[in-house]
């Protein structure tokens, strides 16, 4: 049996700031993972990825990241994505500081 499709979000880094961004359902790039669109269908995810990748003047390095749906929106399932949505652990810099 094929493995069930793990839910995804589209993510990248913003062209100017380099900050981590996520694709929301209304096509906006958002800075907070909680507002990202959760993609549960593989075909839809691929289309969203292609559309987002075409916006090269806004974002760099677009890819699909695994998430798990949670009560406060999508949650990272890998520690790398957890760090990306938060910021570094040695200083209170990055996203954690702008909340």
């Amino acid at each position: 049996m094929p493995k069930p499709f793990a839910p995804k979000v589209v993510t990248a880094n913003a062209l100017i700031e380099g900050d981590v961004v996520y694709l929301a359902a209304d096509d906006a790039w958002v800075r907070d993972l909680a507002q990202a669109e959760i993609l549960t269908d593989e075909a839809v995810a691929q289309v969203r990825l292609l559309e987002a990748s075409a916006r090269a003047h806004e974002a760099v390095g677009v890819y699909l990241a695994d998430v798990a749906p949670g009560t406060t929106g999508p949650q990272p399932t890998h520690f790398r994505e957890d760090f990306r949505r938060r910021g570094p652990s040695n200083y209170y810099h990055g996203k954690q500081a702008s909340r």
């Binding site: 880094n13 062209l15 100017i16 700031e17 380099g18 900050d19 981590v20 090269a56 003047h57 760099v60 390095g61 399932t77 890998h78 520690f79 790398r80 760090f83 990306r84 910021g87 570094p88 652990s89 040695n90 200083y91 810099h93 990055g94 996203k95």
Partner: protein, 556 residues
């Protein structure tokens, strides 16, 4: 110190102008990311986990006060108020905006600094012994030849698209403080009779397949140096495995073909390269060397030093760990630790950078160095000035007395910043330093070098740490592998893996058990960790790591 010629200044201004236009074209959409990426990498600009990162070269680790002040300005104006000094004597800014980078590069050019060839498949910043020009054991200052190599390699038309990056390090002393055996080319200044020449090693490197460099030439005379090095890079440029990036470094080429075959090919190619050099490089070298003349050392009594040493235990502890003998009587080499317990190894705030610049101006003949061990060095301080200097260092959190100790840890940025990382390194370094500070055992443990990398690329030199720690991603969990017995000196050795790795929570207790086993088993306090490991072998450390009750409960 080397001062830019009009040619250098004009070259840099033109490069910066080009890059400014490239950034504008990227933002306007005229360049795609695929087109822009190689251009930004040529200028030291990476895109990392949370932001862009600008890597600025500090050629052979040498800075003037004015340059250090400018680095502070960049940190404050375009970053978050600090910079990170790396194991390749560079400084990295972790938070610049793409639109600010052209201004940052212009500001650097004002003081003769740049970010060219700090990335990409080119010859990178040439590194050197951080005690250059000051060390008592030196044959000659390695920096003039490092500068010569920098000028030769910068924008060298044949070497802009090498199979992979290429790193050169130079030492002027037989005691290697520049880790030359872990570089693609390692150069040691040597003397034969009255003649100064160069011993050349090739094929060293860490990373996925660590190798110790092998001697390709025992003595290359000054006149042959550039053509010889050019022949080495040129042979590899053709032979290097462009088909597989994991096999592209020269260490693999040397390994696959054997050092004798590589030497033969280099000697053939050398006949051609040598004919192409017309001696202009020798004139340039003389011009460069004249600019590295030693400063005007002074002759003064140093009884203030002796008095402070006798009466102030804090100063004494700092002097014992952070000072090294200078070649000139009355002087000392002072290392300023950027490893305050619990802080990020290699980070300095803008304010600290300014303090260091002021101290260098006031007490240090206007010179600073950045060591590959991520500390700052004031290479020429008169002993009578040390007590005053120490007071100022203390007031700015810069007087940590731990050089060479267990808390003087090399740590790469790891997954707190680096896009390639498989695990974090910085918090591991912070936790180890804090733990051993609490235990108050640092002085008793003595010399022990821990080096931590956040992935197999080994920027944190873990293979050559007495204790090496490598952070990996094992099934979605940060896991840390330990190696023991590595050595970064002239007796370079790669550490041996202890066995299975440890989790983020368990790595510090594991290090404690290794150190405990050393303290228990050493013959005397004089026997260092590395000596004890060489005598005892892996068994007692393995037992301490995996067979104790603590280890069992961790496994459970």
């Amino acid at each position: 110190m080397y001062r830019y010629t009009d040619f250098d200044t004009a070259f840099l201004a033109e490069r910066n102008r080009q890059f400014r236009a490239q950034v504008e074209r990227r933002i306007s959409g005229a360049l795609t990311e695929d087109e822009f990426k190689p251009l930004r990498l040529m200028n030291g600009l990476y895109l990392q986990l949370h932001a862009y990162m600008l890597r600025v070269a500090i050629p052979y680790g040498t800075l003037s006060s004015a340059q250090m002040r400018q680095l502070a300005l960049l940190a404050e104006k375009w970053d978050k108020g600090y910079g990170h000094f790396t194991t390749r004597q560079n400084i990295q800014y972790n938070w610049p905006k793409l639109t600010d980078v052209p201004d940052m590069l212009d500001a650097l050019a004002e003081v003769g600094l740049h970010a060219i060839q700090t990335s990409g498949n080119t010859i990178r910043n040439v590194t050197a012994d951080h005690f250059a020009g000051a060390a008592a054991d030196e044959v000659a200052d390695p920096r003039p030849v490092a500068e010569l190599l920098r000028q030769w390699s910068t924008d060298h038309p044949e070497f802009q698209f090498l199979p992979r990056k290429f790193k050169i390090a130079v030492t002027g002393a037989p005691n290697d403080r520049a880790v030359i055996k872990a570089h693609d080319i390692g150069i040691e200044v040597v003397r034969r009779g009255d003649e100064i020449g160069y011993r050349i090693l090739v094929g060293g490197g860490l990373g996925r397949t660590p190798m110790i460099g092998k001697e390709i030439a025992a003595f290359v005379p000054q006149a042959d140096l550039l053509p010889y090095v050019e022949a080495v890079v040129s042979v590899w440029n053709l032979l290097g495995r462009r088909d597989n990036k994991y096999k592209a470094r020269i260490k693999i080429t040397v390994h696959e073909h054997g050092i004798d075959e590589i030497r033969r090919l280099v000697e053939d190619r050398f006949v051609e390269t040598r004919a192409a050099f017309n001696g202009a490089d020798l004139e340039i070298f003389d011009h460069i060397r004249a600019q590295f003349a030693p400063p005007a050392f002074r002759n003064a009594p140093d009884d203030v030093y002796d008095a402070a040493y006798a009466t102030d235990p804090v100063f004494r502890a700092w002097a014992d760990t952070n000072l090294t003998a200078h070649k000139v009587p009355g002087y000392a080499i002072a290392q300023i630790s950027l490893k305050a317990h619990g802080e990020t190894p290699g980070d300095a705030s803008a304010e600290q950078m300014r303090v260091l610049a002021d101290l260098a101006e006031r007490f240090g003949h206007d010179e600073l160095r950045i060591s590959h061990e991520q500390n700052v060095v004031l290479p020429h301080v008169h002993r009578s000035d040390l007590p005053k200097m120490h007071k100022i260092l203390k007031a700015h959190g810069l007087a940590t007395a731990n050089i060479g100790r267990i808390s003087d840890i090399i740590a790469c940025p790891g997954m707190d910043y680096c896009a390639l990382a498989t695990a974090r390194s910085i918090p591991i370094a912070q936790k180890i330093a804090t733990r051993f500070d609490e235990l108050k055992t640092e002085a008793d443990i003595g010399e022990l070098k821990i080096k931590i990398s956040g992935c197999i690329n080994a920027c944190g030199h873990h293979h050559v740490g007495h204790i090496g720690i490598l952070g990996l991603d094992r099934g979605g969990v940060e896991t840390y592998q330990i190696t023991l017995g590595g050595d970064a000196t002239q007796d370079a050795a790669l550490g041996d893996r202890t066995g299975p790795g440890f989790s983020y929570e368990d790595i510090v207790p594991a290090i404690e058990r290794i150190v405990g086993a050393y303290l228990e088993q050493r013959e005397s306090p004089e026997e260092t960790f590395l000596q004890a490991y060489r005598r005892l072998g892996m068994a007692p450390f393995k037992a301490a790591l995996y067979d104790t009750a603590d280890a069992q409960s961790e496994a459970a």
